[in-house]
């Protein structure tokens, strides 16, 4: 009996003609339950009726699981999603969950959502209210930056992206200069363009900056600054000079041992106490310094990993050529070590970007903070989900693109033989 029921190539047609109808039955039952609200297995006891599609479907998949059936499609199917009873049940479960929850999600996101209008009253159809995002879009991008001056932020970022884009396409010869300009000169030009105060541009204090542009400004400055500091700390930690080594270790471990939020608290309430009476340091600057030092400690550990992974031979070879400490590290050791730890560096950069929303503790409102502000506006109560989904999507796109780019870079620079 069991021999007869065991699906093999010999009874291919029998097995298939039992299995496929069973699977079909399972899907018909499930679909009618989900979309037609009619339970065709209501004659069964409650729990059994609920799990009926899963049980019947698994049984059906069992009959379809024929080894070396000779049908290519079936073999691929069995290999990928139907290799055992457990896998078959999980496959069905995932398909059912997708069928059940994708349509409501899509409805909420797009089909039932409201896009047109200018106030909360225009959202009547029950889906997401994207009007909220549309109306507040400028605030989400620029914070409290005055409307007539927003072209300055746009220009600053436009030049930045143009230069970054240019760095990809110009010949190797000029690329070096563009990158140097981007790293050492452009940050000052950009920040002057946005803050103003010279060339007749209106001065705009940093408290008014906000939204996504602030997220990008903080991340960009911290990114540029934390890298060299981290590199020096990593070299310091591997130094043979005890004072330098132990002070590097102390610095790294202290910053890595505390949460960023307490560091920001410190920069907000404790740091002013350490400055001479009457001096005032800009809030944004304090935040950038705090985030930079914090991430530099993590960067140092990542780079140290790369330094440790290099074999002794590299050091010895460089020394035998008569290179000093700095020449050896700059020309031989660091280029190899950094290449090894590209994924780690990318992860630190990602962590940095994802940490920027924390600057809310000092009262700076970047994208997430602006959404928090907008959702408490009396005219727009109850829009939290739309706001955070939007912000999540923006951050997701940025971070996903960065991680993808780092993977590509890793592959391109790889010299693995």
């Amino acid at each position: 009996m069991m021999q007869f029921l065991k699906p093999t190539r010999d009874n291919l047609n029998t097995s298939l003609s039992i299995g496929i109808p069973l699977i079909a039955l399972s899907f018909i039952d499930f679909l009618s339950n989900t979309f037609l609200n009619s339970n065709i297995t209501s004659f069964l006891p409650g729990t059994l009726s609920y799990f009926f599609p899963l049980i019947i479907g698994t049984l059906g998949l069992y009959f379809v699981r024929i080894e070396f059936s000779g049908i290519r499609l079936l073999d691929n199917f069995n290999k990928n999603v139907n290799s055992s009873t457990f896998n078959a049940a999980l496959t069905l479960l995932i398909i059912f969950i997708l069928i059940k929850y994708t349509p409501p999600l899509l409805n909420w996101l797009f089909f039932d959502a409201d896009f047109a209008g200018s106030s909360k009253d225009d959202c009547t159809s029950g889906g997401a209210c994207w009007v909220f995002v549309k109306v507040w879009f400028k605030r989400f991008m620029y914070g409290m930056y005055p409307n007539p001056e927003q072209w300055r932020i746009n220009t600053a970022f436009f030049i930045l992206f143009t230069l970054v884009g240019a760095a990809f396409f110009v010949p190797q010869k000029f690329r070096k200069y563009i990158i140097l300009f981007l790293l050492f000169i452009y940050p000052f030009i950009g920040i002057k363009l946005i803050s103003g105060g010279i060339f007749g541009l209106k001065w705009i204090e940093t408290g008014a900056w906000g939204g996504l542009s602030l997220t990008l400004i903080v991340s960009a400055f911290a990114l540029i600054l934390c890298f060299p500091i981290g590199m020096f700390l990593a070299l310091g930690r591997r130094s043979e000079l005890p004072v330098i080594r132990y002070s590097s270790i102390g610095f790294i471990e202290i910053w890595r041992g505390v949460p960023l939020i307490t560091v920001l608290f410190m920069s907000a309430v404790m740091f002013p106490m350490f400055l001479p009476d009457g001096t005032y340091m800009d809030k944004l600057m304090r935040v950038i310094i705090a985030i930079t030092l914090f991430e530099a400690a993590y960067m140092a550990e990542v780079i140290r990993g790369g330094l440790q992974a290099l074999s002794r031979g590299q050091y010895d070879a460089a020394k035998s050529l008569g290179m000093g400490y700095w020449r050896m590290h700059l020309l031989v050791i660091l280029p190899q070590a950094l290449k090894l730890v590209i994924p780690g560096i990318a992860n630190t950069f990602l962590a940095l970007v994802k940490d920027t929303p924390l600057i809310f503790v000092v009262g700076l409102l970047e994208l997430a903070g602006m959404i928090g502000l907008a959702k408490t506006n009396p005219k727009w109560l109850g829009m939290a989900i739309e706001g955070y989904v939007f912000a999540g999507l923006v951050f997701w796109v940025i971070c996903y693109a960065m991680s993808r780019y780092s993977q590509r870079l890793e592959k391109r620079l790889s010299t693995e033989r």
Binding site: N80, T91, E253, T262, M273, V389
Partner: protein
């Protein structure tokens, strides 16, 4: 101390100068900061000191695991905050381990759909800032829960409402006897495993230590119910009408929504990293190891238990401990949704009331530093013990 090297250190100026300069720089920065701090504090008429810790705190905390009200001291408020931090961290660590291991194994599944689903889970939740995820759960998803009168009920034992999750309260009598019996059984299990190992290594005998220890773990505590006079009752939460339209739940334990959203966001976010560690660990065990184990006739279960897992764990545990530490540190984001953890209670409310920025921030940072360093020291000891001893 090697005196010969010491002398050379002093002679070699090339080695000495950078060190002296670094030391001088560090000392001067510290001196400059403390000098300024002294002047600033003098101007404001506050003196440095930790005496304020014994003063009356006179503020309330919404959620506390120990007795607390406004009449207790600042030190007690600190303890409440610390316990709340530890509570959410422990819950988060347990949940993220379960979720992370499941997803990490799922990513290696031969089943295409499961591997893809796990991959997308990781890609989605890893690339969205944790703070946004906390906000999403707290301000978005949990606000959609029903009011107490329409609570989602689980067999009338526990109830999920917009005001939190109500679960039954355990009412013990003679809890200390029960608790000590659990400890006794854990000690007994330890000895069973020791005995089993000795039997296996010296006499080649197989002792089913796993089954024996499971039996011990259930039987000894169960005995206390029969002969130790331990009883356990449940106090179920009940719906209570305050006025015509206002209802709430009384009795039982209420888990506040801040805690739920924080634990959910922390564990779902950290699970992505744990999953990647688990995947890397299992992939890191060479195929040859499994094949060699199979060729000497071990069963599939034995291969997993004796060959794959010990090696995979060696790769998995260090980075995963790091993630647990990150989770604990990330729990400080609680301040954003007003869950009374150490940052909100101490670095927030207490600091506003006393104005003692330096003392309070240093205590808060010191606490986190202590936690991190303790765990790293334990981790390093473990790593040394587990490292492959090459001959």
């Amino acid at each position: 101390m090697n005196f010969k090297n010491f002398k050379i250190d002093f002679k070699n100026k090339k080695r000495l100068i950078p060190q002296v300069l670094t030391l001088a720089f560090i000392i001067s920065v510290i001196a400059y900061f403390s000098y300024n701090a002294q002047i600033n504090m003098g101007n404001r008429g506050i003196s440095f000191g930790y005496g304020f810790l014994s003063q009356e705190a006179s503020f309330d905390i919404t959620f506390s695991m120990i007795d607390y009200d406004g009449s207790y001291s600042y030190a007690r408020a600190f303890l409440v905050g610390l316990l709340n931090t530890l509570l959410v961290s422990v819950i988060g660590i347990i949940l993220c381990t379960i979720l992370g291991v499941t997803i990490g194994i799922g990513r290696l599944s031969q089943n295409y759909l499961i591997a893809k689903a796990a991959e997308w889970y990781v890609e989605i939740f890893r690339n969205v800032p944790l703070l946004l995820q906390i906000f999403f759960w707290y301000y978005g998803a949990l606000r959609l829960l029903p009011l107490p009168e329409n609570a989602i009920s689980f067999n009338d034992i526990s109830f999920l409402t917009i005001k939190g999750w109500y679960i039954p309260k355990f009412l013990w009598t003679n809890f200390s006897i029960f608790f000590s019996s659990v400890i006794v059984s854990i000690i007994a299990i330890f000895f069973v495993f020791k005995h089993a190992k000795k039997q296996r290594e010296e006499f080649g005998k197989h002792v089913p230590a796993g089954w024996i220890s499971i039996a011990i773990f259930f039987i000894i505590p169960a005995l206390t119910f029969l002969i130790g006079g331990v009883t356990l009752n449940f106090q179920y939460p009940e719906l209570n009408q305050l006025s015509d339209t206002v209802f709430n739940f009384k009795g039982g334990i209420s888990i506040i929504p801040e805690l739920i959203s924080l634990a959910l966001a922390l564990s779902m976010y950290t699970a992505t990293f744990v999953a990647e560690n688990v995947r890397a660990g299992i992939q890191g065990v060479g195929k040859g190891q499994k094949e060699a184990a199979a060729s000497i006739g071990l069963t599939k279960g034995q291969i997993l238990k004796l060959v794959v897992m010990p090696q995979a764990l060696r790769i998995i545990i260090p980075p995963t401990t790091n993630q647990y530490l990150n989770l604990t540190k990330n729990s400080s984001l609680a301040a954003a949704i007003a869950y009374p953890d150490i940052v909100l209670v101490f670095a927030g409310t207490a600091l506003m009331q006393t104005g003692r920025a330096i003392e309070i921030i240093s205590i808060t940072m010191g606490t986190y530093l202590f936690l991190s360093l303790t765990i790293s020291v334990l981790m390093n000891t473990y790593n040394k013990k587990m490292a492959i001893k090459e001959k």
